[in-house]
Symmetry: C2
Subunit: 358 residues, 2 copies
């Protein structure tokens, strides 16, 4: 997706596998630093709510016995801490802020799973399937509150601005989820590419951007730098989703670990499909016939649909658009952190999320 030759020209170090290693180290370190604060926040919950949160984060099984923990990749807290470091601040000063971002992310996961009726999250049954809708909603509400409480009690001078950014981001995440549900109910031809991109930016890009911007705030950077890092996270988030959508259709199941074509089988309005439908080509019109509303899911062969999307230009569009978004992300990063050596950690994280088995 991203051109590694370009990368080499931008930064003095060799890129590629080394970056992946660097990103993995950054993520593991963020997990280690944030987990104690995250666990303390969850442990502060009253018993009934604590149990749901402990299950959601993978620290307990459904029956309340201890589990190894699988709280995700910690990309968002890693972005906070790495942004602080890139701008010359002390990452240790931002651990509460990084934890608040992670709590907020998990609040939205708990609620999104209820609304979307998703039954699996991080290879385990979702909280609502185990505890019911009410418990999952309440645990999510409590995690949002815990996130804001951490920031409100943080004496760091950047905490109020970070809290305001995080709250504004939650509103954007909610609006994105609202649009997503709205688009789900419409026929694919009635969904514009612009709406779809706006929804993805709100659902995926906003919190990645917010994490980076909060890092800037904690490093004491100015508004322009925070805005540029927000843009970096947003554009990288869009690139990530575009690539994720491509993998969802054309990925090799033996490499991705996901069954092939499931997105097409459930007629998900992923970006390559919407782009193909909006292409104005005869192939796009043919695709509309296969993918229209009201047709039983099983009618069209997902293999044929994938070919139709590709013929209508959906795959090429998604790949070039992902490259374009990644290039915008790198431009924003260069504005916020002109020294490539200092920008290396954020670059590695962006490449990590966008370079996936495929």
């Amino acid at each position: 997706m991203t051109d590694t030759t370009d990368m080499r020209e931008r930064a003095p170090r060799p890129r590629g596998p080394a970056d992946e290693h660097e990103a993995a180290e950054i993520l593991a370190s963020a997990r280690l630093r944030v987990d104690p604060e995250l666990r303390a926040a969850v442990d502060s919950l009253p018993g009934s709510l604590r149990r749901i949160a402990l299950y959601h984060f993978g620290w307990e099984h459904a029956d309340g016995t201890p589990a190894a923990g699988n709280a995700g990749k910690a990309i968002r807290p890693a972005l906070v801490l790495t942004a602080v470091r890139a701008l010359g601040g002390d990452p240790l000063s931002a651990i509460r802020a990084a934890t608040a971002v992670e709590l907020t992310h998990n609040f939205t996961l708990l609620h999104d799973d209820v609304m979307d009726r998703d039954t699996t999250r991080r290879h385990r049954p979702t909280a609502w399937t185990v505890f019911g809708d009410t418990d999952a909603i309440l645990a999510g509400d409590a995690l949002q509150a815990l996130a804001q409480r951490l920031l409100a009690e943080d004496p760091h001078p950047g905490a109020p601005a970070a809290a305001a950014r995080l709250a504004a981001c939650v509103v954007e995440l909610c609006a994105g989820q609202r649009t997503d549900c709205d688009l789900e109910g419409r026929a694919p031809q009635e969904v514009s590419l612009e709406e779809c991109l706006g929804m993805v930016e709100a659902r995926t890009g906003a919190l990645l951007g917010c994490a980076c911007a909060i890092g800037a705030v904690y490093a004491g950077a100015g508004a322009e730098t925070a805005a540029a890092l927000d843009g970096f996270g947003r554009q990288a988030g869009l690139a990530f989703q575009l690539i994720d959508d491509v993998i969802g259709i054309w990925g090799d199941p033996t490499r991705t670990g996901k069954p092939a074509r499931t997105d097409l089988a459930v007629r998900k309005k992923s970006l390559p499909v919407v782009a193909a439908l909006a292409s104005g080509t005869p192939e796009g019109a043919a695709l509309a016939g296969l993918y229209g509303r009201g047709r039983p899911t099983a009618v069209a062969d997902p293999e044929l649909v994938a070919q139709a999307v590709e013929r209508a230009g959906g795959r090429d569009w998604a790949q070039s658009h992902a490259a374009d978004r990644m290039s915008r992300a790198l431009g924003d990063l260069a504005r916020a952190v002109p020294d490539p050596e200092r920008a290396g950690g954020l670059l590695a994280l962006a490449e990590y999320v966008t370079r996936r088995p495929y």
Copy 2:
């Protein structure tokens, strides 16, 4: 419930109807001061979420046409502003904080209505019945975020402490709602009075106490004063709920405007019923036979159940316990605001919520 003779001895002014008038004025003034800030916060939401919130607050009909607005009695914002004034602060400095409390209250109403499947709120269909569960959940999430954003952007030195208190209160509200749902699923005999009182304190008392404590924080008062005012609001909230439960069983429908005995018809575990069941009296045992789990709702005549609750001492217990809580509330108030003249506004509000048509 409260003894007005006692009141006259505490404060130099005549009490009774005058207080009611004073409370009504305080509430109307709080509504007037908070509404513009509340409306601005709601108007800042993206379109799809804004529509749900505008409906919930009564500013729009379900079809999006303007409505007169019916955002409730504004008791919580009035407590914030009146507490600030009672402690010698400037209520105008706390309008954002009062609005944040009101937004938080309405976030919990939106979510509670989804979980409890309640279909009516402020004499109108609840948001989830009009827009669906997803929209009501998302609008609630967004209101919690807006509340925290208002405080995070408030330059008042008390804002961070207020934000932390409000977030901690949300966790308590969620735990209270969780306990309430848990108690709903149990047989009345399996519910202890202590659990029930704890649940009511969390669901009703906590936010009233938090509103008063935030007022103290904004007036620059110390931790002890804030704690005393928190206690005042909590105890007044418990007194309110006890009286509300008594009215729900023995209130005169022509005076309360509510149909009689509905709480009993749906086998609600209201405090007088739980007290009667826990009384250890033969009448309590007889009541358990009428009110047990698994019996069809229509079997027991609510009139007979009301008599059984009364014979088992549930009514007397609730009335004397309400008086006891009100007296604790007044003790807390006197500690926080020793000058009765200054305490008059808060006292009037506490009497307003506990002295109801009956």
